[in-house]
């Protein structure tokens, strides 16, 4: 029984950074901006979070620093693509490259240093309940944040007026501009929110998942988050499903490798990617629904004529 609980806990830990980064990117893309810099913002969050935690000794300050780091880094992307109307794909890619390089440079003095870890939740009485205690009341704080964040984004996008406005900008920025909606302002806020989320996801890596700094420790998770958003056809609950499927198969194949199943390890390592794509493609069979949820102005620079 304990093994099952342990496996479930590791799945949640593996899925959480993917979920947070993908939910942030979902909001960005819903506003019509394609930010391919998720990986770069995530790794900057990771190094910033570790550094602040290591220097102050407080993992909470570390987490805050990770969020700020991601947000500030995304601001660079926002200025380039929104104010200067540069190509979003090229700018996003360079943001990733910059983030990977810059974080390596900042982090040289942190390599091999002991980090601080965010403590798991511990509610006396509840957390020690058998099975459900640790699953529901004994996980790390970022796990709870990720679930709350998903629910909040769902509510924001589909139940509030501001969310409706954001979706309308993603559908047609020219129409939105004609109605007097401040397209650029909304997109700035969306991009910064996405950056903060990516930073938080990075902070989770260096303050919870493996509380230490290793160069390139984001290991492609930013790209997986980007793919999740597309395969989930820009819908929050599907992003959640996708992140957990990925996490589950990831942990599953690690255990399979440990058991020594006679399947090449490369094959097993590719399994999470395959499984996630297959499941998400299956649940987005409805072409019409996918089309309706795809932000039509995604990736197009917006320059209002004045």
């Amino acid at each position: 029984m304990d093994i099952t609980v342990n496996i479930l806990l590791t799945i949640a830990t593996a899925a959480t950074p993917l979920l947070i980064a993908a939910i942030g990117e979902l909001v960005v893309e819903r506003s019509g901006v394609l930010n391919l810099g998720v990986e770069g913002m995530m790794i900057m969050g990771a190094v910033g979070g570790f550094g602040a935690g290591y220097l102050t000794g407080s993992p909470w300050i570390g987490l805050l620093a990770a969020i700020i780091m991601g947000a500030v880094f995304s601001l660079l992307f926002a200025v380039m693509t929104l104010s200067l109307a540069t190509n979003q794909v090229a700018t996003g890619l360079s943001l990733t490259l910059l983030g990977l390089g810059l974080s390596g440079m900042i982090g040289t003095r942190f390599v091999g240093q002991p980090g601080v870890r965010l403590p798991n939740l511990d509610i006396p009485g509840l957390s020690s309940l058998p099975i459900v205690g640790r699953l529901l009341f004994g996980q790390d704080p970022v796990f709870y944040i990720s679930i709350a964040l998903t629910a909040a984004v769902m509510w924001f996008l589909f139940k509030t007026r501001t969310g409706l406005t954001l979706r309308s900008i993603g559908d047609s920025h020219t129409s939105a501009h004609a109605l007097g909606i401040k397209v650029i302002r909304y997109r700035y806020l969306a991009v910064i929110f996405g950056g903060a989320c990516a930073g938080l996801a990075g902070g989770h890596l260096s303050l919870v998942y493996t509380p230490q700094w290793v160069e390139n420790m984001s290991a492609g998770r930013g790209w997986i988050a980007l793919a999740l958003v597309v395969f989930a056809s820009w819908r929050p609950w599907r992003v959640l499903a996708g992140a957990y499927i990925f996490g589950a198969v990831w942990i599953g194949q690690l255990h399979a490798q440990a058991f020594g199943i006679p399947v090449p390890s490369q094959m097993l390592s590719s399994l999470p990617y395959l499984a996630t794509v297959v499941v998400l493609v299956l649940i987005s069979r409805d072409k019409r629904l996918t089309m309706m949820n795809t932000p039509a102005s995604l990736g197009q620079p917006f320059v209002p004529d004045r």
Partner: protein, 521 residues
């Protein structure tokens, strides 16, 4: 006109100027709109009408000039400011969001923060009270163009504006839908609202407008009372000279002529959730005749053109036959080699590559059919021959340009369209299919293109014209068929066709059964 600040004028515009690069789109425009009048803004495409109203609605910033609202000088810096003043706008190219519902679209333009459910109820009530029924829960992407315009109008009315600007509102409506719109406008006028009505359709301006301001090349060339003018005197003011009338000699013995383009049971599944499926379309176009296809925009004309031209291939090769040969499985080049020529709706980027010279554009569309003339041994382009051919077309179609062989994008819309049509006519194709031949083209150029299409047919070719401009179709067609919701009616000989009959079919009265239409209406 002297300045008038006593408040009788709702809006006064003085010396409004807008410059784009080297082009002065609006040159010291003066305009007065009184309370409770329908004021027409007349002018050809490119006369500066849309630029002017965009400045009034705050989407564009004027370079100089003043705007007075109720006698007060105002600066309209954004659409939000315009809305606060009480200016509402119904756009020509709709500013709706396809993936959202009608109610959500309306909610987006209201700033009062009321919940969407209450907006839906308000919109429903208002739409019925003006006789423009609307289902607020429907997705805009699923609606017809006429229904989309209703949303635009309702959205505008919900803001209770004092001045409503309508930019070419009837260009997407059937004649019957337009009548309904006019009733609404007259009712709004009776409520004391002012309306700025932009159109190039003179008959409807004469019918509903109290005063008119005429623009030409960005300047005001006159104010008049349209009721005291004739359509031709208004046209003269707009164009600045007499417009040559198109001559169409009647054809004889067409029943026995060879059908050169045959379409049999053509069907197509929708390519995207919001596009129209084609259903069992059949049509013959014979040598010597022009067949017109009428229809409100977005009823499958684009899909139909793609299928006939070969941009999209058919499963059934016999569903499109050109000069007696199955062409449904052939690409555009294959169909061209059979003797067909195609002019798509979109000039830049579809009909011509914008950044390439006219001679290069000529080569792009005709390298296969005119291979021997234009391409020499080893695939080398005979640029001299291509250049000579492009000059021949430029001369034949009277294309006005600033350089000997300019880039396509450097030409005005009308001149580029003349070149594109001329490029195909120059081949003397036996089948010519044209989508919107004169959309956005000035009157002189339009008459030239129409005459050329008629002459091509009289020389023994089959000509198929898809157009949303009914006047044009009545001018050039020997028979008119109507496309509605992906279905095509039987062609009606021009002698029997009337605006009313065609209009009813455009609105969806029994496609394919033209002869019963009047009984059911």
């Amino acid at each position: 006109m002297s300045a008038n600040h006593d408040g009788a004028n709702l809006l006064e515009v003085r010396g409004l100027t807008k410059i784009f690069g080297t082009l002065t789109a609006c040159d010291h425009i003066d305009l007065n709109i009184a309370k409770g009048e329908i004021h027409a803004l007349l002018g050809e495409n490119g006369a500066g009408k849309s630029t002017l109203v965009k400045m009034l609605f705050g989407s564009l910033e004027p370079n100089s000039g003043e705007i007075f609202w109720n006698g007060q000088a105002v600066r309209i810096t954004s659409p939000g400011v315009a809305k606060k003043l009480g200016i509402g706008m119904v756009f020509q190219h709709f500013s709706l969001f396809e993936a959202l519902t009608a109610a959500e679209n309306i909610a987006l333009s209201l700033d009062d923060g009321s919940p969407i459910s209450s907006i839906a109820a308000k919109a429903r009530a208002l739409s019925y009270s003006y006789g423009l029924p609307l289902d607020p829960e429907s997705l805009v992407g699923d609606l017809s163009v006429g229904e989309r315009q209703r949303i635009e109008i309702i959205r505008c009315l919900l803001q209770t504006p004092q001045l409503i600007i309508l930019d070419e509102p009837t260009s997407v409506l059937t004649p019957q839908e337009a009548d309904k719109l006019f009733e609404t406008l007259e009712r709004l006028r009776a409520e004391g609202k002012s309306i700025l009505y932009i159109s190039h359709r003179l008959e409807e301006v004469k019918r509903i407008c109290d005063r008119a301001t005429v623009l030409r090349h960005g300047k005001v060339v006159g104010h008049c009372n349209p009721r005291e003018e004739t359509a031709s005197s208004l046209a003269r003011m707009m164009v600045g000279s007499e417009v040559q009338a198109v001559v169409r000699a009647p054809v004889e013995g067409i029943e026995t002529a060879q059908p050169l383009l045959e379409i049999r049971g053509l069907g197509r599944k929708p390519a995207t959730p919001f596009s129209i499926p084609l259903k069992n379309i059949s049509l013959n176009v014979r040598a010597g005749e022009v067949i017109g296809i009428a229809g409100v925009a977005g009823n499958g004309q684009g899909e139909f053109f793609e299928s006939v031209s070969g941009e999209v291939l058919q499963q059934d090769a016999a569903s499109v036959r050109i000069r007696g040969k199955d062409a449904g499985g052939l690409t555009i080049t294959g169909r061209r080699l059979l003797g067909a020529a195609f002019v798509p709706e979109e000039r830049l980027g579809h009909g011509a590559a914008p950044r390439m010279k006219l001679s290069e554009n000529l080569l792009l569309s005709r390298h296969a059919t005119d291979g021997k003339a234009f391409v020499g041994t080893g695939g080398m382009v005979k640029s001299g021959a291509v250049y000579a051919a492009s000059q021949r077309i430029i001369e034949a179609m009277d294309v006005r340009k600033s350089a000997p062989d300019p880039e396509a994008a450097a030409l005005s819309g009308g001149n580029l369209q003349k070149f594109i049509v001329g490029r195909e006519l120059d081949r003397r194709p036996s089948v010519m299919v044209v989508n919107q031949p004169t959309w956005g083209v000035d009157a002189g150029a339009a008459a030239h293109i129409r005459q050329a299409l008629i002459e091509l047919s009289r020389s023994g070719s089959a000509v198929l014209v898809i157009s949303q401009d009914l006047d044009e179709l009545f001018e050039i067609s020997d028979a008119i068929a109507v496309m509605h919701n992906g279905e095509l009616s039987k062609p009606m000989p021009i002698a029997e066709a009337t605006f009313e009959k065609v209009g009813l079919l455009m609105g969806g009265a029994e496609p394919g059964h033209a002869e019963h239409t009047l009984e059911t209406a």
